[in-house]
Symmetry: C2
Subunit: 107 residues, 2 copies
């Protein structure tokens, strides 16, 4: 796997995060990961968007990693993704909560 550039906490950029969350598919992924506070692989995380090509999905997860929203841990064949809640909260207090802790319709 190519070395991903996951930004350090102090290098998080607000517009990168907002841009990453500005796509409905990525928004749904992050919301799902955030609400369920669990760590899911790429396929499970995107259940509401089942008909998306996996190459496209791979790209979405790359954007999320590079924006700093999620981190990945390799476990066997699968990538275990989780939202970098503490990192983002420490740099942008209350941002995640105000964006994700609601039942906005996202279509």
């Amino acid at each position: 796997m190519r070395q991903e550039k996951q930004p350090r906490t102090e290098d998080l950029v607000i517009t990168d995060i907002l841009s990453a969350l500005g796509d409905p598919v990525r928004f749904a992924i992050v919301k799902h990961l955030y609400e369920n506070k669990c760590q899911l692989n790429c396929t499970q995380a995107v259940t509401p968007f089942a008909n998306i090509a996996k190459s496209t999905l791979s790209g979405h997860f790359r954007v999320l990693r590079e924006s700093g929203l999620i981190s990945v841990r390799k476990q066997g064949v699968e990538n275990i993704n989780s939202v970098r809640v503490d990192d983002i909260n420490s740099r942008f207090p209350n941002l995640l909560n105000s964006i994700l802790s609601n039942d906005y319709s996202i279509t």
Copy 2:
């Protein structure tokens, strides 16, 4: 001027707003309008990005209007822009504040 589709409050879409704010130029525009609580025309609002073509700027303002972030009022030759603070707060409580009320560097 072509009829713009500025969404009603109840039709605001979170991903459209995040996507609009995910661009550094548009972020700076909205942040400026928000902080100064004043109504500025397009040229004034984008002082930190002076070397952008005005056609590009026009496009950025169109995105902001269509996302519902700003409203426009024609006054003489100029467009007076302002952030739709009340509308957005009523639909997405605390969103604007947590995104804009900080001194994040935005490159």
